[in-house]
Amino acid sequence: MNSITKNQLAAVLLTTDIFMLFCFQGSLSLWSASGFMLGIAAQGLLALPLVIFADGGGKTEKWAEIFYLACIVLWGGYLLCRLWNACDTIFVPYETTGGLKGHLLITGMISLVCLYISSTGMKSVSRSSVIAAGIGVIFLAVNLISSVKRQNFGNITASFGGRGFVDGLFLCFSMSGSIIVGAVLAPLVHDNCRSGAKLYFSLRTALSAAVLITTLLVTGGIMSITDFPVITAAQLSQPFTRQRIDSLFMILFAIFAVFSVTSQVMTGSYLLGEIFPKFRKWRSTAMIFIIIAAAVLLSGMSVYGVFTAFLTLTAEFAVPLVMLIRRRKR
C-alpha cells in the first residue's frame, strides 16, 4: 500500500521548492523577498482545506485526479525547462552540456535516473527524499557559511530598484508547483497530515529565507545582470582564496534536480494507476515521456508565471475545498 510519513511528505516537497529557488531567474529586492516569505505563509493558510480533507480520511475524486495529473505534467515540463536553462550555467564539463546535444544528454541522464528511482516505488522515493533533503541542507549550510565573507549589506539598497512586494508574493505562488504533488500525497500520509504541513511550511520558510537573504547580500549589487542570482551567489561565495568550490553546489543542484523531477514522475505514475487501474506496467516510463514532451512544448512559451501561479492556487485551495464541500454534503 502507498503511504508515507509527514517527514517524507515535507522532504519530497522541499526538494522541489529548493530546486526552483536555484533556478530562479530575474532580480530580487528586500521587498520582493518579504513578499515571497509572506506568500509562503499565505500558502500555509490556503492549504487548510487540503489538510482538513486529508486528515478526515478523504479520498481524492476521479475528476480531481485527472486535474492533478494534468497539472503535474505541466509542472514537470516546466521543471525540465528550468533545468535546461540552468544547466548551461552550472553543469561541468561545459563542452558536453551546452546546446541541444548537451540538453539531450542532461535530459537523458536525469530521465534515466528518475525512471529508475520512480520505478522503485513511492515509499522508496519518499524515504530517499528525506536523506537527499538532509544532505542538501548540509551542503546548503556549507554554501551559506562560505558566503559570509562575501556578504555586503550595501547590496540590499542597491537592489531596491528590482521587484516589489506584490511581485514577490506572485513569484512565491508561481514557483510553488510542489504543492500539486503535496495535494496528491497529503491523503496518503498515514500519520498526522496537519503536523506534516506545519513542518513543511516552517522548513520551507527557513530555507527560503536563508537562500534569499544570502542571495540578496551576495549578488544584490549585480542582480540585474545575472541570469540566475542564486547560482551566481553560490559561485561568488568562495571561502578559500586559492581554490573554488562551485562544483560542490553542482552536486547539490543535481541531487535536487533529480528528486524534483522524480517526485513529479512518481506522483504522475501513481495518478495514472488510480485513473487507469489496468495500466500497471510502464507507467513511470510513460510519465517521463509525457513530461519531456510537455517540456519541449513549454520551452517556447513565456507565460509561465501566471500559468503556474493559477495551477498552484487551484490545486492547493480550490480543488480540495470543492472535494471537502462535496464530502460534507454527502
Binding site: T5, V92, T120, S124, V125, S128, I131, I251, A254, V258
Partner: protein, 479 residues
C-alpha cells in the same frame, strides 16, 4: 514405511544405500529376538555406542515379542536422551546419517534411534571474520547442536525458542530457527516459516542457499539479512527482536532483518565508553564514504573540476600525472583491478604461497608501476586510502567494491554530475531495500529520533536498559 520382517528391511536398506560401505549393519539376537543395529561409519562415537548401546542391549532378558523388547528398551533402558521412533526409510536414513544408531527388529514395523553422535568436529575457536577485543572469543562451529548450546548458554530464558527443521532434498540439512517469542510477532515468524517452506534446493552448503528465500526478491545492492559468526552478537540480535537461522555445517548464523546501520556496529562499541564508541562509528561512516567515493571524486576533480584543488595541490598532481601514459580513469581502473586480483589471489592461494602474492604485488604495484610511470603516486595513495576504508567494514566489502567501480566510471565519464546522479540511484536502491516490512535505512529514513541513540551515537548502557528496544519499532507493515 518400514517392513515388519527384519530380512526385508535389511535388504531394502542395502538397496536404497546402494551397498554404500559406510552403512554398518550389525545383526544380533537379544531377548530372543533377531535385531540389527544400523549406523553410519564415522558418524558415531565407537566408545559411546559400545558402552551405552551394545552392552546394555545384549544383556536384555528373554522377551515375549519385539514390541515388548522395544518397549523395554525405550521405557526402561533409556539408552540416550534423544531416542526418536522411526517409521519410514527417509527418516531412518536421515537420522542414521546424522550420527544416530538405529535399532530394527524382526516382527515390528518401526525402529528406535539413539543419539550417539561422535563425528569429528572443529572445536569452538575464535571467529575468523569478526574481530573483537573486549568481547567473548568464541565463535560458531560447523556443528548445529554445539552452536545451539552456545546460544542457550548465553540466553537461559525459556522465551528463547529454537525450532529445528530439515531442508535440502539431498543434503537433508538441519536448520534451526531461533527467536525470542516475547519479542518477535507471531505473524512475522509465520512469514519467515512460509519463506523457508519455499526452499527446494538439493543441498544447503552455505548461507547463500538460504538468504535469497528470506530476502525481498527485488534487485538490491545490499543484503537485507545479516550473518554473524559470533554467538554473543547473535544473542544481542535475538534480544532486539530479530530471528536467526543456524545451519548445520556452517559456522555462521543468518539474522533477519538486517539494517544498514548495523554494518557499522560492533560488540566492542558497548564495551567502550559511549564517546569513544560514537567516535569509532563516525570513523566507520567516513571510511565507508571514502571507500566508495574517493577514487571517483579524485578522478572527477582531476579530469573535470580542477578548480576544486588549491594551486599547490594542483601543481603536485600536474607534475606527477604529466608523464603518465594512461588517462587518470584508466590508471584508477588499472590500480583497482590489480588490487582486486591480488586480494582474490591472497584468499584462494594455498597458505604457503601467500607470501609470494605479497612480494609480487609489492614489487609490481609498489615499485615497478610507479617507477615506470605507469601509475602516479597520488593516485596510488588515493586508491590505497579507499581500499583501507573498505577494510574497516569487511561485511560490506562486496558492495563497496561494486560501488567503487560504478562511481569511478560515472565520475570518469561525467565528472561530479555523474557521481551525483549515480549517488541518487544508489540512494533510491538502498531506500527501496526492505525485508518483511523493515526498511533497510531505518532509523534514518523513515526517521526515528529514538533510533539515533544507537546509530549516530551510543547511548549510555543505564539509559539503554530502560529503552527496551526491539526492531519491531521500525516495522512499517505491523505499525
Amino acid at each position: 514405511m518400514l517392513y515388519s520382517e527384519l530380512k526385508r528391511n535389511i535388504a531394502e536398506i542395502k538397496r536404497i544405500s546402494g551397498g554404500s560401505s559406510d552403512v554398518l549393519i550389525n545383526e544380533f539376537v537379544t531377548g530372543g529376538i533377531h535385531c540389527a543395529l544400523l549406523n553410519c561409519d564415522g558418524m558415531v562415537s565407537a566408545s559411546t555406542i559400545t558402552e551405552l548401546v551394545f552392552e546394555p542391549i545384549t544383556s536384555i532378558p528373554q522377551k515375549k515379542d519385539a514390541h515388548e523388547l522395544f518397549h523395554y528398551i525405550d521405557e526402561e533402558l533409556l539408552l540416550s536422551t534423544d531416542r526418536p521412533k522411526i517409521s519410514d526409510y527417509d527418516e531412518l536414513f536421515r537420522l542414521m546419517n546424522s550420527g544416530f544408531a538405529v535399532l530394527i527388529a524382526d516382527k515390528i514395523d518401526f525402529a528406535l534411534a539413539f543419539g550417539v553422535q561422535g563425528f569429528a568436529a572443529r572445536s569452538v575457536q575464535e571467529p575468523s571474520s569478526e574481530g573483537n577485543i573486549m568481547g567473548a572469543h568464541e565463535g560458531f562451529t560447523e556443528t548445529l547442536p554445539m552452536n545451539m548450546s552456545q546460544i542457550r548458554r548465553r540466553l537461559k530464558t525459556p522465551l528463547l525458542v529454537m525450532e529445528i527443521m530439515v531442508k535440502g532434498e539431498k543434503s537433508q540439512t538441519n536448520i534451526c530457527l531461533c527467536y525470542m517469542k516475547d519479542r518477535v510477532p507471531k505473524q512475522l515468524m509465520d512469514k519467515i516459516r512460509k519463506s523457508l517452506d519455499k526452499i527446494r534446493t538439493e543441498a544447503l552448503l552455505t548461507t547463500g542457499y538460504i538468504r535469497p528465500f528470506v530476502e525481498n526478491g527485488r534487485f538490491e545492492l545490499f543484503s537485507t539479512t545479516g550473518t554473524t559468526e559470533r554467538p554473543d552478537v547473535l544473542c544481542s540480535k535475538l534480544i532486539e527482536g530479530r530471528a536467526a537461522i543456524l545451519i548445520d555445517g556452517l559456522p555462521y548464523a543468518v539474522v533477519i532483518p538486517k539494517l544498514f546501520c548495523e554494518s557499522f556496529q560492533t560488540l566492542d562499541d558497548y564495551a567502550e565508553k559511549p564517546l569513544y564508541a560514537a567516535f569509532i562509528r563516525w570513523l566507520k561512516y567516513g571510511a565507508f564514504i571514502l571507500a566508495v567515493l574517493l577514487p571517483a571524486v579524485y578522478t572527477a576533480i582531476v579530469m573535470y573540476h580542477p578548480e576544486l584543488l588549491n594551486s599547490t595541490l594542483l601543481m603536485i598532481l600536474v607534475d606527477s600525472e604529466k608523464d603518465a601514459p594512461l588517462s587518470i580513469l584508466t590508471e584508477a581502473l588499472f590500480v583497482l583491478l590489480m588490487y582486486e586480483i591480488i586480494r582474490e589471489a591472497g584468499i584462494r592461494l594455498p597458505k604457503p604461497s601467500g607470501g609470494a602474492v605479497s612480494i609480487i604485488s609489492g614489487l609490481i604495484i609498489g615499485d615497478s608501476a610507479v617507477s615506470s610511470g605507469l601509475v602516479s603516486t597520488p593516485l596510488l595513495t588515493i586508491t590505497a586510502l579507499a581500499v583501507l576504508g573498505g577494510l574497516a567494514l569487511p561485511e560490506l566489502n562486496p558492495q563497496i567494491t561494486i560501488l567503487r567501480f560504478g562511481f569511478l566510471l560515472a565520475g570518469g565519464a561525467f565528472g561530479l554530475l555523474g557521481v551525483s546522479l549515480l549517488f541518487c540511484a544508489v540512494l533510491a536502491n538502498i531506500c527501496s531495500s526492505e525485508d518483511y516490512g523493515f526498511p533497510f535505512t531505518a532509523p534514518l529514513s523513515p526517521f526515528k529520533m529514538s533510533g539515533l541513540s544507537d546509530t549516530a551515537f551510543r547511548m549510555d548502557m543505564k539509559k539503554m536498559q530502560d529503552r527496551g528496544f526491539t526492531v519491531e519499532e521500525y516495522n512499517e507493515q505491523h505499525n
